[in-house]
Subunit: 132 residues, 3 copies
């Protein structure tokens, strides 16, 4: 089975997370929030929340991406992965501007994740019912 | 090899983590803790810690679940996964009530993780010694 | 393909993360920071940041370790994994002493991760260009 598409999506998702980590490093300097502190400046806190939220969603995303690839289709898994990535990039850029603006990107990526997870569940049930 | 059991456990673990994320969202509204803040109300902070702790343990759990499945037994991996899930649900429900009550669920899931990780290590050593 | 080396590295990385979790538990008692609080004492906050940072880097590390193993070489993947582990242990021990000392270990592990991620990307492109 050609798993190159989800493999590429996985690397892009790691790249996105790396960007959010760098953004926190830059924000530490810009807003004068020295490690180990993670509070004290609202602009810093938003950028820090982007990183943490990307981490949380990455942990949900990667296993469902690969289970969907394995049980249903690596092609559709990759396409849903692209949608997820678009949602996460939009979330990142919006939330870095203001906390209120983060909903659209969050919703897009949450939807893509939901389809991946439910699709994987359906795929597993289908495989078991087929006696495989 | 039939990997459906650990695959189902993986999806259930992602579902559990999703529940803890929703609980934080609901607690933001209930206790008036607006994003990006994560402190300021003790009830909110407990629910937030449940989410973070579930994240940490998920990252430990999933790789050991799959290594155990690959190197020892997907069946026993799945059974240990069920025990882990029970411990994490108990932890979540208890910690949301009070910080002191969280120990039992934590211990159950920590034990299941330990058996998975040590079992995986034993499985790898056995495979190497068998020259496979 | 012999995947035992990256499997062993994965278990050691989980062990390292477990150590940072225990360190936070011990620091809670030592510095009197009761759960769910994660702030209030600078020594505790450094040890807590070690745990969170290890978590973030683990989530970046494991997928790139396995993609590199799959697409290029499990042997080199394992060797880069050893370097990553050395960097993370140095980071942990240094940061627990002072926030300034954390750079060296961080740089070593970041470099190992970078080679893993770029190597995996190169491996995927090579595989696609070879028509596999």
């Amino acid at each position: 089975m050609v798993m190159h598409f989800p493999a590429i999506i996985t690397l892009l998702a790691l790249l996105l997370f790396t960007v959010t980590i760098f953004a926190v490093g830059a924000a530490r300097i810009k807003y004068g929030v020295k490690a180990p502190a993670t509070t004290g400046n609202e602009n810093f806190e938003r950028i820090f929340r982007v990183q943490m939220n990307t981490l949380e969603n990455l942990v949900l995303f990667l296993p469902s991406l690969w289970l969907f690839s394995e049980y249903l289709s690596p092609l559709w898994s990759g396409i849903l992965g692209v949608i997820w990535l678009i949602g996460r990039v939009d979330y990142m850029l919006s939330y870095m501007r203001s906390a209120e603006a983060r909903s659209r990107g969050y919703a897009i990526s949450a939807l893509a994740f939901l389809v991946l997870a439910i699709g994987a569940a359906v795929g597993i049930v289908m495989r078991i019912m087929a006696g495989l």
